[in-house]
Amino acid sequence: MKKLIQLYVSWFKMGLFTFGGGYAMLPMIQKEVIEKYHWATEDEVMDYYAIGQCTPGVIAVNTSTFIGYYQAGVPGAIAATLGVVTPSIIIISIIAGLITNFSSLAIVQHALNGIRVAVCMLMINAVLKLGKGNIKNKIGFLIFAVALIFAMFTKVSTVLLVIGAGIAGVVFSRIGWLKKNA
């Protein structure tokens, strides 16, 4: 029971302070899930993101379900998932009920523009750290570069890119160019 409450509270916190999509939650996950509670390694979180990217649903929610499940089975998955969505329900209910012109208020705009700078900084640090940990050889860098170019400049669906990267992983491993710890 203690574990379930811990999962709920921790994911509540992450939901409350995430602005933007699932990727913007990454710095928060690094802090709470990886460093503070040791619920998953950085490696595992990357796997969950990859799967969350090509399964239905919101990526942040999918990641919370994964981590909750591995900590405490289905009840853990439910606790973490409910935790990450509760702040949305509360905040949206308050705002939709009281301040319909919320997003056009000057003070909200200024605060959000400020928050965006922090999110920028957090994500720059996160991506540099992840790059160091996950791109370990030339083939890894090649996959990174190709995925980056496609995601940045084409409209190819991310699902296809994930599938392509998975196939590349298998092919390059089989011909011995991509070794696990090389």
Partner: protein, 182 residues
């Protein structure tokens, strides 16, 4: 069928078929609005704006908003649960499967290819938010120098205090944004 149940089912369907995060839910929400008339397209754009400017994953925020607009807090809870239930079920199944096969060579090879690609997706998300923050958009017609200085200070600060929780950076930068009218 009672309207609340119908809403639950429609959002369950959205959660089941919207692959790729919060933005992927928008076409579904548009269709629901057109088909049932629960909200107009102008309501939808307000919902998107509010969902983007409040904490929490955007897809979850939108579901909370639609639910609240029809049935208050109860609607907000029911519709949000409808949205996340499919991925909760799917991820539990995948997590269970992954636990059994994660030592399998093929699975490890696939993930060896996926990791660099996920870093690329996160890098693209980071570039997007960086450009939006500093230049407004990809036309690069304006330069927000206040944000640029703030980002520089935050990056330096994060090197100096790497253990600080991301929440503090977010709160501080919201205050800075308001004080300096970002």
């Amino acid at each position: 069928m009672p309207k609340l149940l119908l809403m639950f089912l429609e959002f369950f369907k959205t959660g089941l078929f919207a692959v790729g995060g919060g933005l992927a839910t928008i076409p579904f929400l548009r269709e629901i609005g057109v088909r049932y008339g629960w909200y107009t397209m102008s309501d939808l754009s307000t919902m998107i704006a509010v969902s983007e400017s409040t904490p929490g994953p955007m897809g979850v925020n939108m579901a909370s908003y639609v639910g609240f607009s029809q049935y208050g807090v109860l609607g907000s809870i029911v519709v949000t649960l409808g949205l996340v239930l499919p991925s909760l079920i799917i991820i539990c199944i995948i997590a269970n499967f992954l636990e059994k096969f994660k030592e399998a060579k093929l699975v490890q090879q696939i993930f060896a290819g996926l990791k660099p690609a996920v870093v690329a997706f996160i890098a693209v998300a980071t570039i997007d938010i960086l450009v939006t923050t500093l230049f407004g958009d990809y036309t690069f017609s304006t330069f927000h120098w206040k944000q640029f200085i703030c980002l520089f200070v935050l990056l330096a600060l994060s090197k100096y205090k790497p253990k600080l929780h991301p929440i503090w950076f977010i709160v501080a930068s919201a205050v800075v944004g308001i004080v300096f009218a970002f």
